[in-house]
């Protein structure tokens, strides 16, 4: 087991370093002349030179990268060009919103997909199965932004049950917070559930055909017990993996959903940074998101290994 963990960590570190390198390169090469852009109307040649020296832009790329990396490791992600606030502070301030959205979305998606998958697997091939699978397949063809518009139209414009956009912190108004999060979380959940359902369903169908299930049936065990106790657990491995990866991806800030529903999360922070060319924020947030994804994937791998002994004993 320890050997397994060591191997995976040995793989994780280079990937993380590569992520920092790529982030830095992208943020440095995209904008063209940064000092010139920052100075705007005050951009005399001397001023540009002075600012470049100030910001260390005249140093070679590798020196600037290492400098930045050292800062990152110490927790200093730099300061926003626009507002001067620390980048890490800006990220941490928005993180709760994105986290809440992500958790609500994932929980809703699981709540939809698990019962459906179980029922479909149990009656595989039947009318219910065909209809649900068809709906899942069709839903895959509806992009996030389209689903968001449809939901807003239905629930906010026509029925007026829920607010179209906006966010209320939970501490301020619990009910308002939940009401504001319903449509965004639902939009994301609707995007996630088809994949989760298909994965669980196909795994369960495979498991239900195993010998030990047949034996359990022959022994006279109730269908429900077979389904939930004997079949669900081994089938859920892939589901957990996919759900975990999804969570990692959603940390990236559901940019579209946050934008449409005006939620002050990490996705909106990124979008704003792109529009205002605030490269410090852009660099810091992209790193945070990418590194977060890699680390969550790593944890999911560990979890998978814990749950499935075959993995940790297999040799690469």
């Amino acid at each position: 087991m320890l050997g397994f963990i060591a191997t995976r960590i040995g793989y994780l570190i280079p990937v993380l370093i590569a992520v920092t390198l790529l982030t830095f390169l992208i943020a440095s090469l995209l904008p063209g002349d940064l000092a010139h852009a920052m100075l705007g109307d005050q951009a005399t040649p001397e001023a540009v030179e002075a600012l470049r020296r100030d910001m260390g832009l005249d140093q070679p790329l590798w020196w600037r990268y290492l400098n930045w990396l050292v800062g990152i490791v110490q927790g200093d992600f730099g300061r926003s060009f626009r507002t001067g606030e620390p980048v890490l502070g800006a990220i941490l301030a928005r993180l709760p919103v994105s986290l809440e959205l992500m958790l609500l979305a994932e929980v809703t998606a699981l709540a939809i997909s698990i019962p459906l998958a179980i029922h479909c697997a149990a009656h595989s091939g039947g009318p219910f199965d065909r209809v649900v699978t068809g709906i899942a397949f069709a839903k895959l063809s509806i992009p996030n932004f389209m689903a968001a518009i449809l939901l807003i139209y239905l629930f906010a414009v026509e029925l007026r049950w829920l607010p179209a956009t906006g966010y209320v912190p939970f501490a301020e108004d619990g009910l308002g917070n939940v009401r504001a999060m319903v449509l965004p979380a639902l939009t994301l959940a609707l995007a996630e559930w088809p994949v989760l359902m298909r994965v669980l369903r196909s795994d369960m169908i495979a498991v239900l055909q195993e010998d030990y299930i047949t034996m359990a049936r022959a022994k006279g065990l109730k269908s429900r017990r077979i389904l939930f106790v004997h079949a669900l657990k081994p089938s859920s491995l892939t589901l957990i993996t996919v759900a975990g990866i999804n969570i990692g991806r959603l940390i990236g800030g559901a940019v579209i959903v946050e934008s449409v529903f005006a939620l002050p999360g990490i996705g909106r922070l990124l979008l704003g940074a792109i529009y205002t060319r605030d490269f410090m924020i852009l660099q810091g947030v992209v790193l945070f998101v990418a590194a977060g994804f890699v680390i969550v994937n790593f944890l999911v791998d560990m979890l998978y290994a814990v749950l499935d002994p075959r993995i940790r004993h297999a040799h690469r």
């Binding site: 100075l39 705007g40 109307d41 951009a43 507002t83 001067g84 301030a93 906010a156 209320v168 005006a262």
Partner: protein
């Protein structure tokens, strides 16, 4: 005394006390207390002029609450005392002496005095600080503070309407606490300290800014509100929806959101506040960039514009076409401003006369409003025979590119100010960093200089009208629509002053 008489005396006494309270009219109708939630358009970056340069509309609104300026404008547009009690000027209008209000403190307890005013201006003008705001007070040579309650503004050029101009809650005019600016360094930007009616309580970026009543405000009895919450809601649909749903009590809006404005006008529980200011939404042409070095091309573009249709398409007819930089809201009235008429045939002829194909790029803001406006202009010019390509950039990038003259055609704005001089001079005088058109004309310079030093409003009006004729004839800038500023509020929000300079100042409001 009998019981009846005693009762009568008591009743009379009570009535004598009560009647004045009952009989006092509107002056006592303001209700104290309550919280007002305002929906802004843009998120505020900060308040330190050295960091943000110029305040945008949303920042102006917040600045009107956190800070004070030396003067304020009343409903007639006349300057009234605020932090300054009185003022006088020298003959040549180059020196203005302000007597300041005593006993005013900043939110951090430090004293407001002439030294504080001087510190603010010096800091903005200091070349070491490279403040983008410095340009806008280039006309101000220095501020002298001979004693704590006297601030003398020494100008390089005369300014007839200085007190009116200083009422605008801009990054130059608001007085911020020197102690706080020095003490907090980089963190000051998000932790501003002023003398205003509200104090910053908390600020979550992108979400909300909570301001609380200043208990030590120099204007006793004000403000009426206990709390103001500012929420940036860039999406106009979201902003209006928050008002309808009751989450916001007042929102900023503009004519592009005409569907909702018209809807609000028909809704009894909402009131639409409107102010036609001077100035307009305008466009600057870079006359050094071909094909714009040829006046025929420039004239053709302007004559291809069908403003009534343009207004219909974008704002359901709410926007008012502008033919000069001053507008109906200005005291400058011109019989003939030299505006080029809408004449598509003439525009086509001019381009044919030019001979070469006309292709160029125009900057637009990367917003639905910017894109739609750009596409309408694209269509107009296509009909005339010119090909325009849209280049989407962020609002801040427009400012940067404009200053660096990295554009062929760019949108700009002439803001509602009490006097046309600051902006006209800045935008058109040879040598000014904001003379965006890269155009130099000695007659234009002469008119601008003359208008600046003349005191007589009629003579100045003549000058400005001549300037308008010149600009229109050369077509170096052109005008879209006059500035109409909007605020939509719940009917229970009372006491909102006129939207001077496009700033929604909620500090004197109360809730019924």
């Amino acid at each position: 005394m009998s019981r009846a008489v005693r009762f009568g005396v008591m009743l009379t006494g009570i009535l004598m006390l009560a009647l004045p309270l009952l009989g006092s009219g509107a002056a006592q109708a303001q209700k104290r207390g309550g919280s007002l939630t305002v929906g802004l358009e843009l998120d505020i970056a900060g308040f330190d002029p050295l960091k943000v340069g110029v305040f945008d509309t949303s920042a102006n609104m917040a600045a009107a609450l956190l800070f004070d300026t030396l003067t304020s404008l009343d409903d007639k547009g006349e300057a009234q005392p605020k932090l300054a009690l009185s003022w006088s000027h020298a003959e040549d209008y180059k020196t203005w002496t302000f007597k300041l209000r005593p006993g005013v403190k900043f939110h951090d307890g430090t004293v407001f005095d002439a030294q504080a005013v001087k510190f603010n201006i010096d800091r903005q003008k200091d070349p070491k600080n490279k403040c983008r705001c410095a340009f806008y007070i280039a006309f101000l040579k220095e501020v002298q503070a001979p004693d704590p309650l006297t601030a003398i503004f020494v100008l390089t050029d005369p300014s007839v309407n200085l007190p009116k101009i200083m009422a605008f809650a801009s990054s130059n005019n608001v007085v911020q606490s020197p102690a706080a600016m020095q003490g907090r360094g980089d963190d000051y930007n998000r932790n501003p300290v002023g003398t205003g009616p509200f104090v910053l309580k908390s600020w979550t970026a992108g979400d909300r800014m909570v301001l609380e009543k200043n208990p030590n405000y120099w204007n006793e009895g004000r403000p009426y509100l206990d709390r103001v919450v500012l929420r940036p809601l860039p999406d106009s649909q979201a902003r209006f929806a928050s008002l309808e749903a009751g989450e916001s009590d007042l929102i900023w809006d503009d004519e592009f959101d005409s569907d909702n404005i018209l809807k609000a006008k028909k809704t009894p529980s909402l009131s639409v506040h409107q102010h036609v200011g001077s100035g307009a939404s305008v466009y600057a042409i870079n006359t050094k960039a071909p094909p714009f070095d040829d006046v025929r091309v420039r004239r053709a573009l302007v004559m291809a514009l069908d403003r009534p249709k343009w207004s219909q398409v974008l704002t359901n007819g709410l926007s008012r076409p502008a033919t000069n930089p001053y507008g109906e809201g200005s005291w400058v009235k011109c019989k003939d401003d030299g505006a080029l008429p809408f004449d598509l045939a003439k525009a086509q002829a001019l381009l044919k006369d030019y001979g070469k194909p006309v292709k160029f790029k125009m900057l637009v803001t990367a917003t639905p409003r910017g894109r739609a406006n750009g596409q309408v202009l694209q269509q107009f010019w296509k009909l005339a025979g010119a090909e325009m390509e849209i280049e989407q950039v962020d609002q801040t990038a427009i400012v940067t590119r404009a200053f660096a003259r990295q554009f062929e055609l760019t949108p700009w704005r002439i803001v509602d100010l009490a006097d046309p001089d600051p902006q006209m001079y800045a935008n058109f005088r040879t040598g000014s960093p904001v003379a965006l058109a890269n155009y130099s004309n000695p007659e234009l310079d002469r008119l601008l200089d003359h208008a600046r030093v003349t005191a007589d409003p009629e003579k100045r009006s003549e000058d400005y009208c001549a300037i308008s004729r010149l600009i229109n004839s050369e077509a170096i800038w052109f005008w879209g629509f006059q500035n109409t500023y909007y605020a939509i509020a719940k009917a229970k929000v009372k006491g909102l002053p006129k939207l001077h300079n496009g700033v929604i100042d909620v500090s004197p409001t109360w809730l019924e």
